[in-house]
């Protein structure tokens, strides 16, 4: 399809859906509050709206359509369709969050049970399901850390948070937003966060360490207990970003390594679909010591009825309206219930097996390397480098990625900054078969062959996509960026 912009499809007088118009007078609005001109929305019939978006959908690549191992750190796994049915059921989708508690016992029970499941999976004592995403959960944890130190009279003293370079950017950005000074540990020669740097950084100003393990390189830091000990000894808290938990479910838990807080991305590890970038769902898990600071309300059970407890005086308060991204919480609950403890462990082991298998295939391709920790295994993902290929051919990793898209799949590089040069991050999860991984590796190999033998084809990619190469960087120039049709018409049309 060469689908136009929706504003180009307007056909004056057409409408997509009718609205009930009761025979009642419309009250007069106060001066200045009546809209003077109708909004410049397109006028379209219902089939035209539908056709437009169906075509756009066909120009998009979901997990369901491809071997989606290329979005490393994102844990692109299959989300069972049956779970979508539960959340589309009116008995979830049509519930108002303020309904009488007697009419929502089922959903409260699901929330309560899900907290219980995540307590066992993490080893923690309480879990809040209110955060809207992983980043929101990181912020929630930081907010609780802040409240914890404040409650102990150390709120003003402890104004530093330590994190690591290979943790998700929000581990740096959220504490900064919460008012902390951020110290970032760089990787040592083996790719582990530099423990000497940690020792140098900790002290009475340390509020917390925010760390991921395995980090986005897929390398598990075996000295994690020591990291925790060092921070604890300095009076700081330790907060575990479990974005990469998919390879270690049932293998090792945040509490077992001594952490005080952790969070899960339910849309990664627990399979809720990624939805073009959310809504997601996060879970913040804490030890008893931090439980008083959890967001309100919590879900409680008195032996016969589930209810919401909003009376939590030390709580950091609300993180989100009402009680979290409930549809995703329902999906995550169902996913865990279908698997059980051994099923979760099988998920982890399969994901790790798939990753190490893919590594063995990819490393046979010319021009690629796997920086750090040579000879050691990776857990559930791996960050590769095309530095050699770039040196040989001038082709950048991004360009390889554009060409890979021509073959019906894709990959991304990784988060900035590119400490690993010309990066590519692959995370195959448990959802793919050996044949899928072979197919993916074969596509990479073919594109690399082109890079060496016919680099122009790679350099001018994509060729089979819905659009061709974009021009220039007008998006960084206030004179040409256009975030809306209004702006586009004014600046570029």
């Amino acid at each position: 399809w060469d689908e136009p912009l929706i504003f180009e499809l307007t056909s004056p007088g057409e409408r997509g859906v009718g609205v009930p118009v009761p025979d009642l007078p419309v009250p007069d609005l106060p001066a200045g509050l009546r809209r003077s001109e109708a909004p410049g929305l397109p006028e379209m019939s219902q089939p035209h709206v539908l056709r437009h978006y169906l075509r756009l959908s066909q120009e998009n690549l979901g997990v369901d359509l491809n071997v989606d191992v290329g979005q490393g750190t994102c844990t692109m796994k299959y989300s069972p369709k049956v779970n979508d049915g539960f959340v589309r059921d009116p008995r979830i989708s049509e519930l108002h969050p303020l309904q009488d508690e007697s009419t929502v016992q089922g959903v409260l029970e699901i929330l309560y049970r899900l907290e219980g499941l995540l307590k066992e999976i993490s080893g923690m004592d309480r879990v809040s399901l209110q955060p809207a995403s992983g980043s929101s959960a990181i912020y929630t944890n930081v907010s609780m850390i802040r409240a914890y130190h404040a409650a102990r009279g150390e709120g003003d003293v402890r104004d530093e948070v330590i994190t690591t370079q290979y943790s998700h950017p929000t581990n740096a950005a959220a504490p900064k937003t919460a008012g902390y000074k951020v110290i970032t540990l760089m990787p040592d020669a083996d790719g582990y966060p530099d423990i000497e740097a940690l020792k140098a950084a900790v002290g009475p100003r340390t509020a917390a360490l925010l760390i991921t393990n395995p980090e986005d390189t897929g390398i598990f830091n075996p000295r994690i207990e020591e990291f925790v000990r060092i921070v604890h000894e300095a009076g700081g808290l330790c907060c575990y970003d479990q974005a990469n938990a998919n390879g270690i479910l049932g293998i090792t838990r945040a509490r077992d390594a001594g952490f005080d807080l952790c969070h899960f991305n339910l849309h990664k590890t627990f399979s809720t679909p990624h939805m073009c970038g959310g809504p997601a769902a996060g879970a913040s898990a804490v030890t008893e010591a931090l439980a008083p600071f959890l967001p309100r309300p919590t879900v409680e059970f008195d032996g016969s009825r589930y209810h919401l407890d909003d009376d939590r005086p030390e709580s950091v308060g609300k993180i989100r309206p009402f009680y979290g991204v409930v549809p995703n919480l329902v999906r995550a609950y169902a996913w865990i219930m279908a698997l059980g403890g051994e099923g979760l462990r099988a998920v982890a082991e399969t994901a790790v097996l798939n990753n190490n298998y893919l590594i063995s295939k990819v490393l046979r391709i010319r021009g690629v390397s796997l920086p750090y920790a040579e000879g050691q295994r990776r857990i559930e993902q791996a960050r590769y480098s095309w530095e050699q290929l770039n040196a040989d051919t001038g082709i950048h990793s991004e360009q390889l990625g554009y060409r890979v898209a021509d073959f019906g799949t894709h990959y991304w590089t990784s988060h900035h900054p590119y400490l690993v040069p010309e990066p590519m991050t692959l995370e195959p999860t448990e959802s793919y078969s050996q044949a899928d991984l072979d197919e993916y590796a074969a596509i990479l190999a073919e594109v690399v062959r082109e890079a060496y033998e016919d680099p122009e084809t790679v350099r001018t990619a994509p060729h089979n996509g819905p659009i061709h190469q974009m021009r220039g960087d007008s998006l960084d120039d206030p004179g040409t960026w256009a975030v809306t049709w209004r702006a586009y018409q004014r600046k570029l049309a």
């Binding site: 409408r15 106060p30 690549l61 929502v104 049932g250 838990r253 051994e342 998006l475």
Partner: protein
């Protein structure tokens, strides 16, 4: 596969995990529901203990509207539901659909810059206020009420490091204009249209001038579904507009449907303060073809970690696509009609219900949209009345106090629904 890797067992891959932190037992979870049939039965048992209200007057930040079927048809497409963060080339459809969402909202809001949705309206308000703070470099934030106390809680927690918050809740359902003293230390004045009690405050159009006079910004939270009939805040001078798009085609889902928008004019000093992704349009090498990408990526924590603005991560993109589909279906005419229908029904409900002895509608003299306050002057509290209504199959409004409750009507209510509520209240309110 193990053989191909040269490994004996999966255990080898875990060699780096010290024994001391290994879990040496299976997770203690319920036995798995291995077949889909058993899982469905288990979930059905749980879901059967949820009872969606057939006739409900709850709003207060989460609204039941009619959801056109096409909205969910699009949102449920595997291609959209299961995609994530692909590049503009192979995820062209997602980029275009979100850019179109931004654009459609831009038309509704009469603003040139709209973000990819953030988590919810609470977050949108918090971020909008911090954007104003960063843009002005000032500490004080004036919040003009009534505002949902939960939202205030979120805002206070979120802006704490950089801002002092002052809430001017006024008396009754409004504030006294004289109380609003905007000093030169004020970063922003925040007000809602309609406010938490549903009222469209007649003072709204006068605020921009007062804020701008001292270099403060006017930040307005609004309900986007009102804007086909009600003037967009930009029209009376708002600098930043924010709110929740849940009313635009997204199910309530026990509060899971909320998603936030933030919009500004196309001024660099405001645009650079957005933490969210902002998609922009860009030409390709083929004439007439559009591509899309991130506008001014170096604002974000994706690009600069803690040096970016706040943070960005997975937010609420699909809700944005849904709201876009909704606006495209409704068009200018539909948005005007739905705004007027709700205004008319809200007025009718206040008039009809205040005819019931023992029931007052204290904001009857103002214009309310969807939400409106009822006051029960009899012996029964608002909560007790809700219990009695529920016995009659009616979910009443949110109890604000013993006497007051926040009721709500939308286009899904008919005049007969309101009459039924009135008749039932007549029996109940003593």
């Amino acid at each position: 596969m193990l053989a191909a890797i040269g490994a004996e067992s999966v255990e080898e891959f875990y060699a780096d995990i010290p024994d001391s932190i290994r879990l040496h037992r299976p997770l203690d979870l319920p036995a798995p529901l291995r077949s889909e049939a058993e899982l469905v039965r288990h979930m059905d048992d749980l879901l059967s203990r949820n009872i969606p209200a057939r006739l409900s007057f709850l709003g207060a930040g989460c609204y039941r509207h009619h959801i056109p079927a096409v909205v969910e048809e699009v949102a449920n497409r595997s291609e959209f539901l299961t995609a994530y963060a692909g590049e503009p080339y192979e995820d062209h459809g997602r980029f275009q659909a979100l850019w179109e969402y931004q654009s459609l909202m831009g038309e509704l809001l009469e603003m040139d810059v709209v973000n990819v949705p953030t988590y919810d309206g609470f977050q949108a308000a918090g971020t909008a206020l911090r954007m104003a703070g960063r843009a002005t470099g000032r500490r004080r934030l004036l919040l003009v009420g009534p505002i949902d106390p939960d939202k205030v809680s979120k805002i206070v927690d979120f802006v704490r490091p950089d801002h002092d918050v002052e809430v001017l809740d006024g008396t009754e359902d409004g504030w006294q204009t004289a109380d609003l003293v905007v000093g030169a230390d004020v970063a922003a004045v925040y007000i809602e249209a309609p406010n938490f009690h549903g009222v469209l405050d007649p003072a709204l159009p006068s605020l921009a001038e007062r804020a701008h006079a001292v270099g403060a910004l006017l930040v307005v939270g609004c309900n986007p579904i009102s804007l086909g009939a009600v003037a967009p805040p930009a029209a009376y001078g708002a600098d930043i507009v924010c709110g929740d798009i849940q009313p635009l085609g997204i199910r309530m889902s026990f509060g899971g449907g909320n998603a936030g928008f933030i919009a500004t004019r196309d001024e660099e000093r405001l645009v650079r303060e957005f933490p969210s992704r902002l998609f922009g349009v860009i030409p390709t090498v083929v004439e007439g073809e559009y591509g899309f990408g991130d506008v001014f990526y170096d604002r974000t924590s994706f690009a600069l970690r803690e040096e970016g603005k706040e943070w960005v991560g997975t937010a609420a993109a699909l809700n944005g696509i849904m709201a876009g589909v909704y606006l495209a279906l409704m068009g200018p005419q539909g948005m005007r009609e739905i705004g007027e229908t709700i205004l008319a029904l809200t007025r009718y409900a206040q008039e009809r219900l205040s005819e019931v002895p023992g029931v007052e509608a204290p904001n009857r003299d103002k214009v309310s949209f969807a939400d409106f306050v009822l006051r029960f002057t009899g012996e029964r509290t608002a909560a007790e009345i809700n219990t009695l209504l529920l016995e009659q199959g009616i979910q009443g409004g949110l109890a604000l106090s013993d006497t007051d409750a926040l009721y709500c009507v939308t286009e899904i209510h008919t005049r007969e629904d309101v009459d039924r509520l009135a008749a039932t209240l007549q029996e109940i309110v003593k």
